[in-house]
Symmetry: C2
Subunit: 284 residues, 2 copies
């Protein structure tokens, strides 16, 4: 009996490592029926506003719970108003809860106001199989130790979220932080959780909005690029380790811009594609 | 009095041209409250299944009516099951009905079954303004008269929708129709309404799914690429005339593929960006 207790305790300590900052920050609890409670944590923000990818990662969790599959496959969020750290409620509308591909809609509310509407189709990517053809290449860049961490440089102050999500920017793309935009709307870099938590498919949704906007490398005023809509395709479960990310804008026009992202894992697999529509700062 | 009557009749004939096939095919009527009726028309299908872009164009119209703005800005649809020609109902959920950017959700039902869930943010693009920076180029291809129309070629039979949406494929990309796939998942072509109706911002949503899937140019079996999710960013009102379209897949893996689209108007403006997640035929 003593031996069994010891074995059980050992197992617990193996399967329940210290809860990471990310796991704590995206925790949700069911309030009643299809309504869930969560808290947007401090420290995942840019200038006090919780990062859009982080808010989406929180809102997504009750949908995955309702669908009873582990992996988001394609997720779209429409951002209605900026969030603040603090309590939120997520309302889940289960649309299709059976079969290989399952769909749910959701809405995130704070202080009685809807901030985010989302739509997600999820699956079990462990069952994914099929022929492989890839035309894209991982972004070419120096190893993480030769890339530029988020740190005060000149007039640049990195946002608080960079304490949670560690980034290392391609040295050729850091001009925006030095008052010398490169003139091309592209930013590549390495990304991972700062506390060593390994990435999973829900973290890819957060990482898809975690680098500085590539727009910053154009000669435009403004420091705030509000996201109107973000869509992430999660294509595979990421291998452990650093991810490589690259974000590019194709068209800045009419006060709007697209931001197209790729996330590559340590095994050179393209694990997520993202695209967002955002507002150009001066038109916001 | 006679003259006024004649003038009035002339004006009517100018402002009310014969209703085009597209306008008839996307007509919706309010049934009650937020429920609208429509009919998925014959002839907009691929092998009997109404084209996904067409179904989305129909579902979008009640949302635009509820939001009282003319232009879809970013639209996402999740496809739950194939549609059939015939009666459908669209349920509208107005999320944010005031301000410059307005958002609504919707669901399209047929025979009591939900086939499509969508989310749209809309605006008035006539008011769009801001700095311009574009990194993309229109697809280089010969003029329409030197490109390949949809017609029976070898074993290839064009789908019925090509009678409504006229396409002319880049001669270098027609290998798929000749049993000689090019080996690269890319198809570019010209696109317009066959009856001369000029494009508008809702038609761009349809055109974003109207060319053959670029996957057809890979050596893979299957003729049916079911869309799981389609997102279209409408960036400007298109100028009259032919549009140039290019669709590319970046990653075919795990039974899924992305399909990334650009639509350029006759004034060389990138008027829409699209991306869909679809199922590889042999894994469907």
């Amino acid at each position: 009996m003593l031996r069994r207790t010891i074995a059980y305790r050992l197992e617990l300590s193996v399967s329940s490592p210290a809860r990471t900052a990310y796991d704590a920050a995206v925790e949700v609890t069911r309030a009643a029926g299809h309504v869930w409670n969560a808290t947007l944590a401090q420290g995942w923000d840019v200038a006090g506003v919780p990062n859009g990818g982080y808010v989406l990662a929180v809102a997504l969790r009750p949908l995955l719970a309702a669908l009873d599959v582990p992996d988001p496959l394609t997720v779209t969020a429409h951002y209605l108003a900026p969030a603040a750290p603090g309590a939120v409620q997520v309302h889940v509308d289960p649309v299709k809860v059976e079969g290989r591909h399952r769909t749910a809609a959701g809405a995130l509310h704070q202080d009685g106001r809807e901030l985010l509407r989302l739509l997600a189709t999820a699956t079990d990517l462990a069952r994914a199989s099929g022929p492989r053809w890839v035309s894209a290449q991982p972004p070419a860049m120096p190893p993480p130790e030769e890339c530029v961490p988020a740190a005060p440089v000149g007039e640049f102050r990195p946002p608080p979220i960079t304490q949670r999500v560690e980034i290392r920017i391609h040295p050729a793309h850091v001009g925006f932080a030095l008052g010398q935009p490169t003139g091309t709307a592209e930013i590549a870099g390495w990304v991972r959780f700062a506390d060593g938590r390994e990435p999973d498919t829900t973290a890819l949704v957060l990482f898809a909005d975690a680098l500085p906007p590539p727009l910053f490398n154009l000669e435009l005023p403004g420091e705030w690029v509000p996201t109107l809509e973000l869509t992430v395709h999660v294509r595979a479960r990421p291998a452990p380790g650093w991810l490589r990310a690259v974000f590019r804008s194709r068209v800045v026009e009419g006060g709007y811009l697209d931001e197209d992202g790729e996330l590559w894992d340590s095994s050179d697999r393209l694990v997520a594609l993202s695209r967002q529509l955002a507002l150009v700062p001066c038109a916001a």
